[in-house]
Subunit: 482 residues, 2 copies
């Protein structure tokens, strides 16, 4: 797709029940999602001088010196050159009415306005002490005994069930472990094998053409190793592109760059109608909005846990295999942890029943138990409340940017319609690299996507409306100076 | 192979330079490796009542109640029923002369005699404070900035080089990440692809028939996905089995069950002479003895880091790709972390040069940086000193067992010859499950391999000779009572 068409591209389906449920009063009170528009931003992006591409899908530019990330509280009219904002009053009202507000105390935060939780979630305060105990007592004192006595061996399924609750999966269908990329490989290859059982002529893998790249690379490898061809298609066009030769479609629930929410129920139904399977990548939706894997009959899904699930840098990913598919799940990575009798040490492989079949090697216990502690924060939270606040936050940010930013400097790539929006706002900006570096210097952390995209993620568990208003004000000041 | 032949099976090659180097005075002073023999142990193994197979290749039996793992210091003749051991004097002399003795202080240990470091290494004292800093400051305060500012992004190569030093690999050839199983998949598939470049008729994968099972399962999957057949062969027979149809041989450097050390230089040379490639699994040799990957021209290797490298439960594994093979390394798991320009977010995959090509997804930072801290203990240690002490420890244990244990109760599966021995002793014992559970109760931790094997691992960095003598004495007492 061309860049210019992104904001108005059809999402391929009307609002569904899943989304409609959460577009309630709280979200709507923040407005219907104003579109920030402008002219003159379609020029070729400039590669910022001194700004190196940053890791983990993000990270501030290298040119931001350490120690300058502190916020600038009490930003005044003199500093911003903008009139006092009436929106600050609205932010205060929204914060006062925010039923998730107290959750912020469960995270280690400071004066920095952290709008990069869609890349790396903030540290939940429960993690340090739990991890210290895992290291000092479970590993240091119990050592090998902890595989049983501390429940290490069963951690992938136990934590998988915790993740499952957040993505609408009943217990016994999710295992945690490996990276998202490795899980994409398992899921796509296994899906192709199941599809070929239905008909050997199914030899095409459809992939969301705007996918986060690793999914495409891994799907290409899966295609090569299963005798299939890979066919990139816009996510919204998958329902019309799927056909009798389709084995599986690999789709992102939310686009990592634009924040567009794709139609999971409609796409899943269309893929099923064609007799194929679907694998959803939930990296940018899990923990931000309802997914409803079971409710919508999804076949397989994968996702990371270090974004909205706050599991820590490179925390283990997860794999969902719908119960009905578990007996047929034929993993390309049949490691000993997925064996029916792993300690029998048999030379022949016999897969375990259930979600365990998605495991491979020895689980990465330190990272995995940090994730488990991080997930405790969700115990008394509903994903519907999270979604409502997420939409209110992104609506409010778009309104603030529209109100404050100089005309023509930024343009939103994020859909205005709630049914098509994840939990981030992407703004096209010709000098996005320089702008992001300056934002970081002033204590507003978002990220930069080459060549010209500013990305701001909104994490309902710890982001407040006053922060959102202030971030927009700082952004406007930077844009005005730039 | 039949069980009975294991102790006398030919290793397929004479002692090599690598091993000869370390069979010096220190090792020899402990004796030439007595063989513990006995009759009546070839009966079928009994599955111990109440003893469930334990995880991570080991762990004490479930029947050992928590809190009873404390040692019984001051074990006397009355308790053991054995005469006072002259071997205690020898143990004291060996400990006094042990140049690695001070290293024990670098680990969190107690009165338990921990002979299971070949399953899960003990906690290095440097880990807890380092990991606390990674969590609280690098993640908690710097958050996304740490991918650059804290060196997270380059950790897989940086830590890979540290591991490389211990296995004889020059910098730039090892990356840390994923599990051993996943790395076996990468290595075997990539090796097959390179072999097929040499000749499309190369369609066989040889695998060590006594391999730790996951290698065999994964090799079978690799064979299936590359159009090859898998051919299990005794490790010692690989030099004669390799031929013009061989693509790759996957071999364990040390057998996980018997502790037998296979002939890496000779086998590698034989595989190369046949025009094939070899992948070595170093799980049970890295950190216990010299490997010499570069010196012996090994093609590819994998290994875990949670045994003799003490990286922690499920710590990331590693992949070695010899420099000469890096341009041809064609990974079946081409995740975005292995892309030449990972932040370009290109839809087409272009592999990076160098060891980075072995990466896949976002690295598991918490576990990885715990491993990095754990590896500091090696900074002033030579692997030759470690090997010398390892042989002295296993020699001494075998002598003590021979001296103390009731006749006919146990029989060693571990080769007597130093050139064929890793860093563990495996004893066949009909009631191994019950014996192990009782040992754990008395503060001696080894592990049990179904149906009838007791495994004791000797970690030269923290195991002393007095402990070895005491472990043998407790074992003898248990065997006498059983």
């Amino acid at each position: 797709m061309s860049d210019a068409t992104i904001p108005t591209e059809s999402a391929g389906a009307e609002p569904t029940g899943t989304e409609a449920e959460v577009n309630g009063a709280q979200a709507e009170s923040a407005g219907a999602g104003a579109e920030v528009t402008g002219a003159g931003t379609e020029s070729a992006g400039v590669e910022p001088t001194g700004t190196r591409p940053a890791p983990a899908e993000s990270a501030p530019a290298e040119s931001a010196p350490a120690g300058t990330g502190a916020a600038e509280p009490g930003l005044t009219e003199d500093e911003t050159g903008l009139p006092p904002a009436a929106l600050t009053d609205e932010a205060a009202r929204l914060d006062a009415a925010d039923r998730l507000r107290a959750k912020r105390d469960a995270f280690a935060l400071d004066d920095v306005i952290y709008l990069d939780g869609n890349s790396l979630g903030a540290l939940p305060r429960a993690v340090p002490s739990r991890l210290a105990d895992v290291v000092a007592r479970e590993w240091g004192q119990l050592r090998i005994r902890s595989w049983e006595e501390s429940g290490w061996w069963t951690a992938p399924e136990r934590i998988g069930d915790r993740v499952g609750r957040l993505v609408g999966a009943a217990p016994g269908q999710v295992v945690v472990g490996d990276s998202t990329s490795v899980n994409v490989f398992k899921a796509v290859v296994a899906a192709v094998r199941m599809a070929k059982e239905r008909g050997a002529h199914r030899d095409q893998i459809l992939v969301d053409e705007a996918t986060f790249p690793t999914d495409g690379y891994i799907a290409e490898s899966a295609a090569r190793m299963t005798g299939c061809t890979l066919r990139p298609v816009a996510a919204g066009d998958i329902p019309s592109a799927v056909g009798s030769r389709t084995a599986v479609a690999l789709v992102n629930h939310v686009d990592y760059r634009t924040g567009r929410l794709h139609d999971l129920p409609g796409t899943t139904a269309a893929v099923h109608a064609a007799g194929a399977l679907v694998v959803w990548d939930l990296c940018h939706s899990a923990g931000a909005l309802p997914v409803g894997l079971d409710a919508h009959g999804v076949d397989l899904a994968v996702g990371c846990t270090y974004k909205y699930l706050n599991g820590g840098p490179g925390a283990p990913a997860y794999l969902y295999v719908a119960r009905a598919h578990q007996p047929g799940f034929d993993s390309p990575l049949p490691g000993w942890n997925s064996h029916a009798d792993p300690f029998g040490m048999a030379s022949a492989y016999t897969p375990a029943d259930g979600a365990v079949r998605g495991r491979v090697g020895t689980p990465d216990i330190l990272s995995m138990l940090a994730l488990e502690a991080a997930l405790e924060v969700w115990d008394d939270v509903t994903i519907e409340d999270v979604r409502a606040k997420s939409l209110a936050l992104t609506d409010f940010f778009l309104r603030c940017v529209e109100d404050y930013a100089p005309a023509g400097r930024v343009r939103s790539l994020t859909p205005a319609a709630h049914t098509e929006r994840g939990s981030q706002v992407a703004l096209r900006c010709a000098d996005a690299g320089e702008v992001l570096a300056e934002l970081v210097r002033r204590g507003v952390v978002g990220d930069f996507r080459r060549p010209d995209v500013l990305r701001f993620g909104f994490t309902p568990l710890y982001t407040g409306f006053a922060e959102v208003e202030r971030a927009a004000r700082v952004l406007a000041a930077v844009l005005k100076e730039g």
